[in-house]
Symmetry: C2
Subunit: 328 residues, 2 copies
């Protein structure tokens, strides 16, 4: 890649792009006007060899939420001082290794919270009011032939348990209050700034809720937090929406509960083994699926370019990061 580089480009600060993220593909020209880009995905070399050959002096990396930034990858980037991820979640980055090596990490912060909360409500409305099922019925020309479309469930008055009352959870709560839903929540600690009832015990929250909306980060503590017992406590009339991370729900158990009618329906934006989705979900009318694209609006993509390039520029000019997760 170096052959066609102008002297101007060679003087730009160098970053390695891993993935590459959608925002990089979309705003490549803008990134290239600010940074000299290392592009391992264009090389025939395996990643580790590429890093050894080209990235031994590289100080900054840009990655998406899909790129697993493991200890092994970090080991091949000995000069790394900053990781900027285009995602809000940082569960794909080995944070303890970054901490040990004093590598700073910046994320999308709350940039996507409104869009993700919008999709959470969209999925809930879709599955409770059977919007995709109705759309299929009409588009297949079946309306004049059947009066037998299924009745939906009313949102108003439903008890919604928010699991994880961070930035996204709060946005979901605000929206669902406007629909007349009654909000409670579970999180590690009670939040002093809200009046919603707090449930330390997830099982207790599931038992009193008509709907669970999963909005927490994926950590060792939240992996399979939603297990069979929680799903059974949510019950036959209960709906679940997950816009957080797939492994927070035990996916095998979720599929069984949906197949057996042990819960009423699900709206799922994330899965345990993306982009692979259990095929058993494809034929279920009470399940609406989304390809981990909650943050993908044209408007947020531009905002995402601004915050990622802003974090990189701040780093290279020794200014404070815009949205640090770890700051050395």
């Amino acid at each position: 890649m170096a052959e066609d580089e102008t002297p101007e480009v060679q003087q730009l600060p160098e970053i390695i792009v891993l993935g590459p993220p959608v925002v990089f593909e979309t705003y490549e020209k803008e990134f290239c006007s600010k940074f000299r880009i290392l592009r391992p995905w264009e090389s025939t070399l395996p990643l580790s060899e590429f890093l050894l050959a080209h990235a031994q002096n590289t100080n900054a990396a840009l990655c998406s939420g899909y790129f697993l930034l493991s200890t092994a990858v970090l080991r091949h980037l000995p000069s790394l001082r900053l990781v900027v991820t285009t995602s809000a979640g940082v569960d794909h980055i080995d944070l303890s290794e970054c901490r040990r090596r004093q590598i700073s990490v910046a994320n999308a912060s709350t940039l996507f919270s409104a869009d993700v909360a919008d999709l959470a409500v969209g999925l809930l409305l879709n599955v409770m009011r059977q919007i995709s099922a109705a759309n299929r019925l009409v588009k297949n020309g079946l309306w004049p032939k059947t009066g037998d479309y299924p009745f939906g469930s009313k949102l108003g008055g439903k008890k919604v348990g928010i699991v994880g009352l961070g930035s996204i959870g709060l946005e979901v709560a605000k929206r669902l209050e406007a629909f007349g839903c009654i909000i409670s929540y579970h999180s590690r600690e009670k939040k002093s700034f809200v009046l919603y009832p707090f449930y330390r015990d997830i099982l207790e929250l599931a038992a009193i809720s008509d709907v669970l909306v999963i909005c927490c980060a994926l950590t060792k503590q939240t992996r399979h937090l939603i297990d069979r017992e929680v799903l059974l406590a949510l019950g036959k009339k209960g709906f679940i929406v997950n816009i957080a991370r797939g492994p927070i729900i035990d996916e095998n158990e979720l599929v069984l509960c949906l197949q057996q009618g042990l819960i009423a329906g699900a709206g799922l934006e994330v899965f345990e083994n993306e982009p692979h989705v259990p095929e058993a979900l494809f034929s279920l009318n009470n399940v609406v699926l989304s390809p981990h694209s909650a943050a993908f609006t044209m408007e947020s993509l531009w905002d995402s370019y601004e915050i990622t390039s802003g974090n990189l520029e701040a780093f290279f000019s020794n200014k404070p990061l815009l949205s640090p997760v770890l700051d050395k």
Copy 2:
């Protein structure tokens, strides 16, 4: 039907059921415990002959929004004093004839407003965030094969024009404010109880709006209120949702504008010639269709039974109607 009637049933107040409405089919037993039911749809006679033979002394009728209660039908019901419709809209009833004959009319009032507003927001989220399209992509197993799913549009900050700020329009506005939308409205008259900007001119509202949500009643004045000119003013990035009545939009022009990309997308619950929907809409990814079922939730169906039977009982015991549209 008279043969197997017990003396107890014969003493119940008589109503004629026209349609029959879904709420009657669902709660038939409950209706039958309170009223003696005339069932023209079970007879081999044409409706007019059935009415001449059986309903000359009948004082009360129950109908759905789908049953056209024309002057001709009313003429065959000379003793009619009350019409109870299970719908909120009364455009299927010849109101001026009812007024002339001093026949009272009762409707569902605001019973369905929350459910209909929920569906309006659900359709808008669906079409702007491409939820049904994403669901199809994942359920067809295409996620691992394509990264090429379409980007949606962000709701936050969008200007939403509500056409008709009645009970449903206000509920839609309340919900969309929680998503960060900016509300304006058009109606016959400025409402003193809201601060949203009022546009007397629908064209002007369309021109400043990113989204139009149609929530007004169908009248002579609102038929084809949304014509080609209004759609062009809404523009290429504009979305439209109709949960009111099909003929408020010029459907032919809407189809053309959607096909030609002159507006961005539509969420449609109602159509000009239900249950027939223009086939050109079936293949459009930027259109989400619903079979006029916004009021169909299990919870509202029971409420609907209560208000319709309550209106009938009030009439027969000379009490004020619960939800009069016309009161003699």
